[in-house]
Protein backbone atom coordinates (compact mmCIF):
# COMPACT_ATOMS: atom_id res chain seq x y z
CA UNK A 1 0.00 0.00 0.00
CA UNK A 2 1.49 3.34 -1.01
CA UNK A 3 1.98 5.91 1.75
CA UNK A 4 -0.07 9.07 1.19
CA UNK A 5 3.05 11.16 0.73
CA UNK A 6 0.99 14.21 -0.09
CA UNK A 7 -0.31 14.31 3.47
CA UNK A 8 3.21 14.67 4.90
CA UNK A 9 3.70 18.42 4.37
CA UNK A 10 0.30 19.47 5.76
CA UNK A 11 0.75 17.17 8.75
CA UNK A 12 4.18 18.63 9.51
CA UNK A 13 2.84 22.17 9.16
CA UNK A 14 -0.05 21.49 11.55
CA UNK A 15 2.24 19.86 14.08
CA UNK A 16 4.69 22.75 13.85
CA UNK A 17 1.90 25.27 14.38
CA UNK A 18 0.50 23.42 17.39
CA UNK A 19 3.89 23.11 19.06
CA UNK A 20 4.85 26.68 18.21
CA UNK A 21 1.79 28.12 19.91
CA UNK A 22 2.05 25.83 22.92
CA UNK A 23 5.68 26.82 23.41
CA UNK A 24 4.73 30.46 23.24
CA UNK A 25 6.84 31.08 20.14
CA UNK A 26 3.81 32.12 18.12
CA UNK A 27 1.14 34.38 19.70
CA UNK A 28 -2.21 32.63 19.75
CA UNK A 29 -4.12 35.70 18.66
CA UNK A 30 -2.20 35.69 15.37
CA UNK A 31 -2.14 31.95 14.72
CA UNK A 32 -4.55 29.83 16.72
CA UNK A 33 -3.28 26.29 17.26
CA UNK A 34 -4.82 23.58 15.06
CA UNK A 35 -6.73 22.26 18.09
CA UNK A 36 -8.49 25.61 18.41
CA UNK A 37 -9.30 25.56 14.70
CA UNK A 38 -10.71 22.05 15.07
CA UNK A 39 -12.87 23.28 17.97
CA UNK A 40 -14.11 26.14 15.84
CA UNK A 41 -14.96 23.72 13.03
CA UNK A 42 -16.80 21.44 15.43
CA UNK A 43 -18.80 24.36 16.79
CA UNK A 44 -19.56 25.66 13.31
CA UNK A 45 -20.67 22.21 12.18
CA UNK A 46 -23.69 22.44 14.46
CA UNK A 47 -24.18 26.16 13.89
CA UNK A 48 -24.94 26.70 10.26
CA UNK A 49 -21.80 25.40 8.55
CA UNK A 50 -23.64 23.11 6.09
CA UNK A 51 -25.70 26.12 5.02
CA UNK A 52 -22.59 28.21 4.44
CA UNK A 53 -20.84 25.45 2.49
CA UNK A 54 -23.94 24.83 0.39
CA UNK A 55 -24.34 28.53 -0.37
CA UNK A 56 -20.74 28.89 -1.54
CA UNK A 57 -20.66 25.62 -3.47
CA UNK A 58 -23.90 26.41 -5.31
CA UNK A 59 -22.62 29.85 -6.25
CA UNK A 60 -19.43 28.36 -7.64
CA UNK A 61 -21.30 25.69 -9.59
CA UNK A 62 -23.81 28.08 -11.09
CA UNK A 63 -21.23 30.75 -11.95
CA UNK A 64 -18.80 28.22 -13.37
CA UNK A 65 -21.48 26.60 -15.50
CA UNK A 66 -22.55 29.98 -16.87
CA UNK A 67 -19.01 31.08 -17.66
CA UNK A 68 -17.97 27.76 -19.20
CA UNK A 69 -21.11 27.42 -21.31
CA UNK A 70 -20.49 30.88 -22.76
CA UNK A 71 -16.79 30.26 -23.29
CA UNK A 72 -17.07 26.97 -25.19
CA UNK A 73 -18.97 28.24 -28.26
CA UNK A 74 -17.23 31.64 -28.26
CA UNK A 75 -13.83 30.02 -28.03
CA UNK A 76 -14.66 27.61 -30.85
CA UNK A 77 -15.93 30.48 -32.99
CA UNK A 78 -12.79 32.54 -32.48
CA UNK A 79 -10.57 29.52 -33.14
CA UNK A 80 -12.28 28.48 -36.35
CA UNK A 81 -13.23 31.78 -37.95
CA UNK A 82 -10.33 34.19 -38.57
CA UNK A 83 -12.69 37.14 -38.98
CA UNK A 84 -14.33 36.40 -35.63
CA UNK A 85 -10.90 36.18 -34.10
CA UNK A 86 -9.83 39.57 -35.42
CA UNK A 87 -13.10 41.06 -34.20
CA UNK A 88 -13.44 39.52 -30.75
CA UNK A 89 -10.09 38.36 -29.46
CA UNK A 90 -8.43 41.72 -28.74
CA UNK A 91 -11.41 42.80 -26.63
CA UNK A 92 -11.46 39.53 -24.74
CA UNK A 93 -7.75 39.75 -24.02
CA UNK A 94 -8.20 43.24 -22.62
CA UNK A 95 -11.12 42.13 -20.44
CA UNK A 96 -9.13 39.13 -19.28
CA UNK A 97 -6.43 41.42 -17.92
CA UNK A 98 -8.81 43.08 -15.46
CA UNK A 99 -8.23 41.58 -12.00
CA UNK A 100 -11.23 40.18 -10.14
CA UNK A 101 -11.25 42.73 -7.34
CA UNK A 102 -11.50 45.54 -9.87
CA UNK A 103 -14.84 44.17 -11.09
CA UNK A 104 -16.42 44.06 -7.65
CA UNK A 105 -17.28 47.75 -7.15
CA UNK A 106 -18.71 48.01 -10.66
CA UNK A 107 -20.87 44.92 -10.36
CA UNK A 108 -22.08 46.05 -6.93
CA UNK A 109 -23.09 49.35 -8.49
CA UNK A 110 -24.92 47.79 -11.43
CA UNK A 111 -26.45 44.71 -9.86
CA UNK A 112 -26.71 45.46 -6.16
CA UNK A 113 -25.72 43.13 -3.37
CA UNK A 114 -27.79 40.00 -3.99
CA UNK A 115 -26.84 36.87 -5.87
CA UNK A 116 -26.64 38.44 -9.33
CA UNK A 117 -23.36 40.35 -8.97
CA UNK A 118 -21.76 37.35 -7.27
CA UNK A 119 -22.78 34.93 -10.03
CA UNK A 120 -21.72 37.39 -12.73
CA UNK A 121 -18.34 37.82 -11.07
CA UNK A 122 -17.82 34.07 -10.81
CA UNK A 123 -18.89 33.58 -14.41
CA UNK A 124 -16.37 36.22 -15.51
CA UNK A 125 -13.71 34.39 -13.57
CA UNK A 126 -14.53 31.03 -15.10
CA UNK A 127 -14.99 32.36 -18.63
CA UNK A 128 -11.44 33.31 -19.55
CA UNK A 129 -9.48 30.18 -18.71
CA UNK A 130 -12.08 28.05 -20.50
CA UNK A 131 -12.06 30.41 -23.49
CA UNK A 132 -8.27 30.32 -23.68
CA UNK A 133 -8.29 26.54 -23.34
CA UNK A 134 -10.77 26.11 -26.18
CA UNK A 135 -9.00 28.55 -28.49
CA UNK A 136 -5.52 27.17 -28.00
CA UNK A 137 -6.83 23.60 -28.03
CA UNK A 138 -8.57 23.94 -31.36
CA UNK A 139 -5.83 26.04 -32.90
CA UNK A 140 -3.25 23.49 -31.84
CA UNK A 141 -4.90 20.57 -33.62
CA UNK A 142 -2.45 18.98 -36.03
CA UNK A 143 -3.45 19.93 -39.61
CA UNK A 144 -2.49 16.50 -40.84
CA UNK A 145 -5.34 15.02 -38.81
CA UNK A 146 -7.79 17.41 -40.41
CA UNK A 147 -6.48 16.50 -43.85
CA UNK A 148 -7.04 12.83 -43.14
CA UNK A 149 -10.56 13.67 -42.06
CA UNK A 150 -11.15 15.53 -45.30
CA UNK A 151 -9.72 12.60 -47.28
CA UNK A 152 -12.42 10.44 -45.76
CA UNK A 153 -14.95 13.12 -46.82
CA UNK A 154 -16.23 13.70 -43.31
CA UNK A 155 -18.93 16.36 -43.00
CA UNK A 156 -18.16 19.53 -41.05
CA UNK A 157 -20.03 18.23 -38.04
CA UNK A 158 -18.43 14.80 -38.16
CA UNK A 159 -15.03 16.46 -38.62
CA UNK A 160 -15.58 18.55 -35.55
CA UNK A 161 -16.86 15.63 -33.49
CA UNK A 162 -14.33 12.99 -34.48
CA UNK A 163 -11.18 14.96 -35.17
CA UNK A 164 -11.21 18.44 -33.69
CA UNK A 165 -12.87 17.70 -30.38
CA UNK A 166 -10.70 14.78 -29.22
CA UNK A 167 -7.53 16.55 -30.35
CA UNK A 168 -8.48 19.75 -28.58
CA UNK A 169 -9.87 18.02 -25.51
CA UNK A 170 -6.70 18.04 -23.37
CA UNK A 171 -6.40 21.81 -23.64
CA UNK A 172 -10.12 22.32 -23.14
CA UNK A 173 -10.12 20.21 -19.99
CA UNK A 174 -7.10 22.09 -18.62
CA UNK A 175 -9.03 25.29 -19.29
CA UNK A 176 -12.03 23.90 -17.44
CA UNK A 177 -9.91 22.92 -14.45
CA UNK A 178 -8.35 26.37 -14.26
CA UNK A 179 -11.74 27.94 -14.72
CA UNK A 180 -13.10 26.01 -11.76
CA UNK A 181 -10.32 27.04 -9.42
CA UNK A 182 -10.68 30.65 -10.51
CA UNK A 183 -14.42 30.37 -9.92
CA UNK A 184 -13.68 29.51 -6.27
CA UNK A 185 -11.37 32.51 -6.01
CA UNK A 186 -13.87 34.93 -7.54
CA UNK A 187 -16.58 33.53 -5.29
CA UNK A 188 -14.59 34.47 -2.19
CA UNK A 189 -13.93 37.93 -3.64
CA UNK A 190 -17.66 38.41 -4.18
CA UNK A 191 -18.56 37.18 -0.71
CA UNK A 192 -15.98 39.36 1.00
CA UNK A 193 -17.87 42.46 -0.03
CA UNK A 194 -21.50 41.87 0.82
CA UNK A 195 -22.82 38.50 1.76
CA UNK A 196 -25.05 37.01 4.40
CA UNK A 197 -24.03 33.39 3.96
CA UNK A 198 -21.10 31.44 2.61
CA UNK A 199 -17.47 30.68 3.40
CA UNK A 200 -16.37 34.19 2.41
CA UNK A 201 -18.95 35.54 4.87
CA UNK A 202 -17.46 33.30 7.58
CA UNK A 203 -14.03 34.65 6.72
CA UNK A 204 -15.14 38.26 7.24
CA UNK A 205 -17.05 37.15 10.33
CA UNK A 206 -13.84 35.88 11.86
CA UNK A 207 -11.95 38.97 10.78
CA UNK A 208 -14.40 41.48 12.26
CA UNK A 209 -14.75 39.66 15.58
CA UNK A 210 -11.01 39.05 16.10
CA UNK A 211 -11.66 35.32 15.73
CA UNK A 212 -8.61 34.09 13.89
CA UNK A 213 -9.73 30.49 14.51
CA UNK A 214 -12.92 31.03 12.48
CA UNK A 215 -10.90 32.76 9.74
CA UNK A 216 -8.52 29.84 9.48
CA UNK A 217 -11.38 27.34 9.65
CA UNK A 218 -12.99 29.06 6.65
CA UNK A 219 -9.69 29.11 4.75
CA UNK A 220 -9.15 25.43 5.52
CA UNK A 221 -12.61 24.56 4.23
CA UNK A 222 -12.01 26.58 1.07
CA UNK A 223 -8.77 24.69 0.48
CA UNK A 224 -10.51 21.34 1.04
CA UNK A 225 -13.49 22.10 -1.17
CA UNK A 226 -11.28 23.51 -3.89
CA UNK A 227 -9.12 20.40 -3.77
CA UNK A 228 -12.18 18.15 -3.85
CA UNK A 229 -13.72 19.84 -6.86
CA UNK A 230 -10.36 19.87 -8.61
CA UNK A 231 -9.99 16.17 -7.84
CA UNK A 232 -13.37 15.53 -9.40
CA UNK A 233 -12.29 17.41 -12.53
CA UNK A 234 -9.07 15.39 -12.59
CA UNK A 235 -11.06 12.17 -12.53
CA UNK A 236 -13.19 13.39 -15.38
CA UNK A 237 -10.09 14.38 -17.29
CA UNK A 238 -8.50 10.98 -16.83
CA UNK A 239 -11.70 9.26 -17.92
CA UNK A 240 -12.10 11.33 -21.07
CA UNK A 241 -8.44 11.21 -22.03
CA UNK A 242 -7.87 7.54 -21.31
CA UNK A 243 -6.88 6.98 -24.95
CA UNK A 244 -3.94 9.36 -24.62
CA UNK A 245 -0.39 8.11 -24.33
CA UNK A 246 1.79 10.89 -23.01
CA UNK A 247 4.51 11.53 -20.44
CA UNK A 248 2.04 12.66 -17.81
CA UNK A 249 -0.08 9.52 -17.93
CA UNK A 250 1.73 7.24 -15.55
CA UNK A 251 0.41 3.77 -14.92
CA UNK A 252 -3.01 2.42 -15.81
CA UNK A 253 -5.90 4.90 -15.70
Amino acid sequence: MRLPLGALLPALALLGAELGVRAGLVPANLLPPPTAIADALAWLASNGLPGHIAASALRVLAGFAAGALLALPLGALVALQPRAERLLDPSFQALRAIPSLAWVPLLLLWFGIDETPKLVLIAIGAFFPVYMGVVSGIRGVDRKLVEVGRLYRLSQVALARRVLLPAALPAILTGLRNGLSLAWMFMVAAELIAASRGLGYLLTDGRESSRADIMLAAILLLALLGKLSDGAMQLLERRLLAWRDSVGDRGAA
Partner: protein, 323 residues
Protein backbone atom coordinates in the same frame (compact mmCIF):
# COMPACT_ATOMS: atom_id res chain seq x y z
CA UNK B 1 41.95 59.25 46.85
CA UNK B 2 39.05 58.09 48.95
CA UNK B 3 36.79 60.92 47.79
CA UNK B 4 37.68 60.31 44.15
CA UNK B 5 36.82 56.63 44.43
CA UNK B 6 33.59 57.57 46.23
CA UNK B 7 32.72 59.92 43.40
CA UNK B 8 33.59 57.24 40.87
CA UNK B 9 31.34 54.83 42.71
CA UNK B 10 28.52 57.39 42.72
CA UNK B 11 29.00 57.97 38.99
CA UNK B 12 28.97 54.25 38.28
CA UNK B 13 25.82 53.68 40.33
CA UNK B 14 23.87 56.29 38.38
CA UNK B 15 24.81 54.75 35.04
CA UNK B 16 22.37 51.83 35.17
CA UNK B 17 19.56 54.23 36.06
CA UNK B 18 20.18 56.48 33.07
CA UNK B 19 20.75 53.50 30.81
CA UNK B 20 17.43 52.00 31.96
CA UNK B 21 15.45 54.92 30.50
CA UNK B 22 14.41 53.49 27.17
CA UNK B 23 15.61 54.91 23.89
CA UNK B 24 13.09 57.24 22.23
CA UNK B 25 10.58 55.63 19.89
CA UNK B 26 11.30 55.67 16.19
CA UNK B 27 7.67 55.89 15.26
CA UNK B 28 4.40 56.32 17.12
CA UNK B 29 1.40 54.96 15.22
CA UNK B 30 -2.14 56.08 15.88
CA UNK B 31 -5.45 55.89 14.11
CA UNK B 32 -7.79 58.75 13.31
CA UNK B 33 -11.45 58.32 12.52
CA UNK B 34 -14.53 60.26 11.53
CA UNK B 35 -16.30 58.78 14.55
CA UNK B 36 -13.69 60.32 16.86
CA UNK B 37 -13.77 64.09 16.40
CA UNK B 38 -10.97 64.73 18.90
CA UNK B 39 -8.62 62.49 16.91
CA UNK B 40 -9.26 64.70 13.88
CA UNK B 41 -8.61 67.84 15.93
CA UNK B 42 -5.39 66.40 17.34
CA UNK B 43 -4.15 65.42 13.89
CA UNK B 44 -5.22 68.73 12.38
CA UNK B 45 -3.19 70.87 14.77
CA UNK B 46 -0.16 68.58 14.87
CA UNK B 47 0.09 68.68 18.66
CA UNK B 48 1.52 65.18 18.84
CA UNK B 49 4.15 65.98 16.24
CA UNK B 50 5.04 69.03 18.32
CA UNK B 51 5.17 67.00 21.55
CA UNK B 52 7.47 64.33 20.14
CA UNK B 53 9.65 66.51 17.95
CA UNK B 54 12.37 66.74 20.56
CA UNK B 55 12.67 62.95 20.71
CA UNK B 56 12.85 62.58 16.98
CA UNK B 57 9.79 60.29 17.02
CA UNK B 58 7.78 60.15 13.79
CA UNK B 59 4.02 60.20 14.15
CA UNK B 60 2.13 57.96 11.75
CA UNK B 61 -1.62 58.46 11.32
CA UNK B 62 -3.78 55.67 9.89
CA UNK B 63 -7.42 56.18 8.92
CA UNK B 64 -9.79 53.78 10.62
CA UNK B 65 -13.02 53.04 8.78
CA UNK B 66 -14.64 51.54 11.86
CA UNK B 67 -14.05 49.81 15.19
CA UNK B 68 -13.54 46.55 13.34
CA UNK B 69 -10.63 48.01 11.37
CA UNK B 70 -8.98 49.77 14.32
CA UNK B 71 -9.12 46.60 16.39
CA UNK B 72 -7.78 44.55 13.52
CA UNK B 73 -4.82 46.90 13.12
CA UNK B 74 -4.15 46.78 16.87
CA UNK B 75 -4.25 42.99 16.82
CA UNK B 76 -1.74 42.86 14.01
CA UNK B 77 0.56 45.41 15.68
CA UNK B 78 0.11 47.88 12.85
CA UNK B 79 -0.90 50.71 15.19
CA UNK B 80 -0.18 51.43 18.84
CA UNK B 81 -3.36 53.41 19.60
CA UNK B 82 -6.75 52.57 18.10
CA UNK B 83 -10.20 54.13 18.55
CA UNK B 84 -13.21 51.89 18.88
CA UNK B 85 -16.53 51.48 20.60
CA UNK B 86 -16.43 49.99 24.08
CA UNK B 87 -18.40 46.86 23.35
CA UNK B 88 -16.39 46.19 20.20
CA UNK B 89 -13.20 46.48 22.24
CA UNK B 90 -14.62 44.03 24.77
CA UNK B 91 -15.48 41.59 21.99
CA UNK B 92 -11.94 41.84 20.67
CA UNK B 93 -10.36 41.48 24.10
CA UNK B 94 -12.54 38.50 24.94
CA UNK B 95 -11.39 36.84 21.72
CA UNK B 96 -7.74 37.29 22.51
CA UNK B 97 -6.85 40.73 21.15
CA UNK B 98 -4.23 42.01 23.64
CA UNK B 99 -5.47 45.57 24.20
CA UNK B 100 -6.21 47.85 27.15
CA UNK B 101 -8.24 51.02 27.43
CA UNK B 102 -6.72 53.82 29.48
CA UNK B 103 -8.85 56.66 28.07
CA UNK B 104 -12.39 57.41 26.90
CA UNK B 105 -12.43 59.83 24.02
CA UNK B 106 -16.16 60.53 23.96
CA UNK B 107 -19.63 59.56 25.07
CA UNK B 108 -21.52 59.62 21.81
CA UNK B 109 -24.95 58.75 20.60
CA UNK B 110 -23.49 57.65 17.32
CA UNK B 111 -25.64 54.75 16.30
CA UNK B 112 -29.30 54.05 15.72
CA UNK B 113 -31.39 51.91 13.38
CA UNK B 114 -32.17 53.79 10.18
CA UNK B 115 -34.86 53.18 7.58
CA UNK B 116 -35.40 54.99 4.27
CA UNK B 117 -37.82 57.87 3.86
CA UNK B 118 -41.01 56.05 2.92
CA UNK B 119 -40.34 52.80 4.64
CA UNK B 120 -43.29 50.68 5.76
CA UNK B 121 -41.25 49.56 8.75
CA UNK B 122 -42.64 51.31 11.81
CA UNK B 123 -41.35 49.32 14.77
CA UNK B 124 -38.53 46.97 15.71
CA UNK B 125 -40.77 43.93 15.30
CA UNK B 126 -41.32 44.83 11.64
CA UNK B 127 -37.65 44.02 11.06
CA UNK B 128 -38.39 40.29 11.12
CA UNK B 129 -37.32 38.72 7.85
CA UNK B 130 -35.92 41.99 6.51
CA UNK B 131 -32.48 42.81 5.14
CA UNK B 132 -30.44 44.87 7.55
CA UNK B 133 -26.99 46.22 6.76
CA UNK B 134 -24.48 46.47 9.62
CA UNK B 135 -20.70 46.38 9.96
CA UNK B 136 -19.76 43.31 11.90
CA UNK B 137 -17.60 43.88 14.99
CA UNK B 138 -18.71 47.47 15.58
CA UNK B 139 -21.09 49.28 17.93
CA UNK B 140 -23.89 49.64 15.31
CA UNK B 141 -23.90 45.88 14.76
CA UNK B 142 -24.00 45.15 18.49
CA UNK B 143 -26.62 47.89 18.90
CA UNK B 144 -28.73 46.12 16.27
CA UNK B 145 -28.46 42.81 18.12
CA UNK B 146 -29.36 44.38 21.46
CA UNK B 147 -32.31 46.20 19.91
CA UNK B 148 -33.56 42.95 18.37
CA UNK B 149 -33.18 41.09 21.66
CA UNK B 150 -35.20 43.77 23.41
CA UNK B 151 -38.26 42.68 21.41
CA UNK B 152 -37.50 38.98 21.49
CA UNK B 153 -35.91 38.73 18.04
CA UNK B 154 -32.50 37.27 17.20
CA UNK B 155 -29.84 37.69 14.54
CA UNK B 156 -31.26 34.67 12.73
CA UNK B 157 -34.67 36.37 12.46
CA UNK B 158 -33.31 39.01 10.11
CA UNK B 159 -31.04 38.81 7.07
CA UNK B 160 -27.83 40.50 8.09
CA UNK B 161 -25.79 41.97 5.24
CA UNK B 162 -22.21 42.71 6.13
CA UNK B 163 -21.16 46.09 4.70
CA UNK B 164 -18.73 48.71 5.99
CA UNK B 165 -20.44 51.84 7.38
CA UNK B 166 -20.29 54.05 4.29
CA UNK B 167 -21.39 51.18 2.01
CA UNK B 168 -24.28 50.42 4.37
CA UNK B 169 -25.55 53.95 3.96
CA UNK B 170 -25.29 53.68 0.17
CA UNK B 171 -27.17 50.38 0.23
CA UNK B 172 -29.96 51.92 2.33
CA UNK B 173 -30.35 54.90 0.05
CA UNK B 174 -30.32 52.72 -3.07
CA UNK B 175 -33.08 50.58 -1.61
CA UNK B 176 -30.92 47.47 -1.53
CA UNK B 177 -31.50 46.89 2.17
CA UNK B 178 -34.58 47.56 4.28
CA UNK B 179 -32.75 48.97 7.30
CA UNK B 180 -29.27 49.97 8.38
CA UNK B 181 -27.49 50.13 11.70
CA UNK B 182 -26.00 53.55 11.12
CA UNK B 183 -22.96 55.37 12.45
CA UNK B 184 -22.22 59.09 12.56
CA UNK B 185 -21.30 61.03 10.48
CA UNK B 186 -22.78 58.81 7.77
CA UNK B 187 -25.98 58.45 9.76
CA UNK B 188 -26.37 62.18 10.32
CA UNK B 189 -25.68 62.74 6.61
CA UNK B 190 -28.31 60.19 5.68
CA UNK B 191 -30.86 61.88 7.95
CA UNK B 192 -30.21 65.43 6.86
CA UNK B 193 -29.48 64.82 3.20
CA UNK B 194 -30.99 61.46 2.35
CA UNK B 195 -34.25 61.95 4.19
CA UNK B 196 -33.76 58.77 6.18
CA UNK B 197 -35.63 58.22 9.42
CA UNK B 198 -34.30 56.87 12.71
CA UNK B 199 -36.41 53.83 13.49
CA UNK B 200 -34.96 53.14 16.92
CA UNK B 201 -32.72 55.16 19.21
CA UNK B 202 -31.30 54.20 22.57
CA UNK B 203 -28.53 56.25 24.14
CA UNK B 204 -27.70 53.61 26.72
CA UNK B 205 -27.04 51.04 24.00
CA UNK B 206 -24.15 53.19 22.74
CA UNK B 207 -20.97 52.08 24.43
CA UNK B 208 -18.62 55.08 24.51
CA UNK B 209 -15.50 55.85 22.50
CA UNK B 210 -12.60 53.81 23.82
CA UNK B 211 -9.02 54.79 23.06
CA UNK B 212 -7.28 51.42 23.09
CA UNK B 213 -3.57 50.76 23.33
CA UNK B 214 -1.72 47.51 22.87
CA UNK B 215 -1.03 45.93 26.24
CA UNK B 216 2.62 45.40 25.45
CA UNK B 217 3.00 49.07 24.44
CA UNK B 218 1.31 50.28 27.63
CA UNK B 219 3.64 48.15 29.74
CA UNK B 220 6.86 49.05 27.97
CA UNK B 221 6.11 52.67 27.04
CA UNK B 222 4.01 54.21 29.83
CA UNK B 223 5.73 57.55 29.36
CA UNK B 224 4.78 57.82 25.70
CA UNK B 225 1.24 56.60 26.45
CA UNK B 226 0.85 59.33 29.07
CA UNK B 227 2.04 61.96 26.63
CA UNK B 228 -0.45 60.80 23.98
CA UNK B 229 -3.26 60.98 26.52
CA UNK B 230 -2.16 64.47 27.53
CA UNK B 231 -2.27 65.51 23.88
CA UNK B 232 -5.76 64.02 23.56
CA UNK B 233 -6.72 66.05 26.64
CA UNK B 234 -5.55 69.17 24.86
CA UNK B 235 -7.73 68.25 21.87
CA UNK B 236 -10.65 67.55 24.16
CA UNK B 237 -10.39 70.92 25.90
CA UNK B 238 -10.15 72.72 22.57
CA UNK B 239 -13.14 70.81 21.17
CA UNK B 240 -15.29 71.68 24.20
CA UNK B 241 -14.31 75.32 23.89
CA UNK B 242 -14.70 75.47 20.09
CA UNK B 243 -17.36 72.97 19.03
CA UNK B 244 -18.26 74.74 15.80
CA UNK B 245 -14.64 74.90 14.68
CA UNK B 246 -14.24 71.23 15.58
CA UNK B 247 -17.30 70.51 13.46
CA UNK B 248 -15.67 72.37 10.60
CA UNK B 249 -12.59 70.16 10.86
CA UNK B 250 -14.81 67.05 10.87
CA UNK B 251 -16.76 68.37 7.90
CA UNK B 252 -13.57 68.85 5.87
CA UNK B 253 -12.08 65.50 6.76
CA UNK B 254 -15.16 63.32 6.39
CA UNK B 255 -16.41 65.24 3.34
CA UNK B 256 -19.77 65.88 4.94
CA UNK B 257 -21.68 69.15 5.08
CA UNK B 258 -21.31 71.45 8.07
CA UNK B 259 -24.86 70.85 9.43
CA UNK B 260 -24.14 67.12 9.49
CA UNK B 261 -20.85 67.66 11.33
CA UNK B 262 -22.50 70.05 13.78
CA UNK B 263 -25.21 67.46 14.49
CA UNK B 264 -22.58 64.89 15.35
CA UNK B 265 -20.23 67.08 17.38
CA UNK B 266 -22.61 69.41 19.18
CA UNK B 267 -25.74 67.38 19.70
CA UNK B 268 -24.61 63.78 19.73
CA UNK B 269 -21.20 63.81 21.44
CA UNK B 270 -20.31 64.37 25.07
CA UNK B 271 -16.65 65.02 25.91
CA UNK B 272 -17.00 65.66 29.62
CA UNK B 273 -15.74 62.44 31.19
CA UNK B 274 -12.62 60.86 29.70
CA UNK B 275 -11.55 58.86 32.75
CA UNK B 276 -12.45 55.17 32.56
CA UNK B 277 -14.45 54.35 35.66
CA UNK B 278 -17.46 52.65 37.20
CA UNK B 279 -19.81 54.17 34.59
CA UNK B 280 -17.97 52.48 31.75
CA UNK B 281 -17.47 49.18 33.55
CA UNK B 282 -21.20 49.08 34.27
CA UNK B 283 -22.10 49.84 30.65
CA UNK B 284 -19.97 46.95 29.45
CA UNK B 285 -21.32 44.59 32.11
CA UNK B 286 -24.86 45.35 30.96
CA UNK B 287 -23.93 44.87 27.34
CA UNK B 288 -21.71 41.79 27.68
CA UNK B 289 -24.47 39.12 27.62
CA UNK B 290 -25.22 39.84 23.97
CA UNK B 291 -21.75 38.60 23.06
CA UNK B 292 -22.51 35.25 24.61
CA UNK B 293 -26.10 35.04 23.41
CA UNK B 294 -25.18 35.61 19.80
CA UNK B 295 -22.12 33.35 20.05
CA UNK B 296 -19.68 36.11 19.14
CA UNK B 297 -17.22 34.81 21.71
CA UNK B 298 -16.02 31.25 22.22
CA UNK B 299 -18.29 29.31 24.57
CA UNK B 300 -17.04 29.47 28.14
CA UNK B 301 -15.32 32.87 27.83
CA UNK B 302 -15.16 34.76 31.12
CA UNK B 303 -16.55 38.14 30.11
CA UNK B 304 -16.20 39.75 33.55
CA UNK B 305 -12.52 38.91 33.50
CA UNK B 306 -12.27 40.36 30.00
CA UNK B 307 -13.93 43.61 31.11
CA UNK B 308 -11.63 43.92 34.12
CA UNK B 309 -8.53 43.26 32.05
CA UNK B 310 -9.62 45.65 29.29
CA UNK B 311 -10.43 48.84 31.16
CA UNK B 312 -7.57 50.53 32.99
CA UNK B 313 -9.13 52.86 35.55
CA UNK B 314 -5.88 53.99 37.11
CA UNK B 315 -3.54 55.00 34.32
CA UNK B 316 -5.22 58.22 33.26
CA UNK B 317 -6.05 59.44 36.75
CA UNK B 318 -3.07 61.80 37.16
CA UNK B 319 -3.38 62.98 33.58
CA UNK B 320 -6.95 64.15 33.41
CA UNK B 321 -8.19 67.29 35.11
CA UNK B 322 -11.55 66.95 36.80
CA UNK B 323 -14.03 69.16 34.96
Amino acid sequence: MKRRSLLQLAALSTLPVTAARAAPLDELRLDYAYYSPTSLVLRHFGWLEEEFKGDGTRIKWVLSAGSNRALEYLNANSIDFGSSAGLAALLARANGNPIRTPYIYSRPEWTALVVPKNSPIKSLRDLRGKKVAATKGTDPYLFLLRALHSVGLQRSDIEHVSLQHADGRAALEQGRVDAWAGLDPHMAASELEGGARLLYRNVSFNTYGFLNVREEFLASRPNETARVIKAYERARAWTRANPSEAAKILSNEAKVSLPVALLQVKLRSDFSNPRPGAEHLRALQLAAPILREEALVKPGTDLDKAIASLIDVRFARPLVART
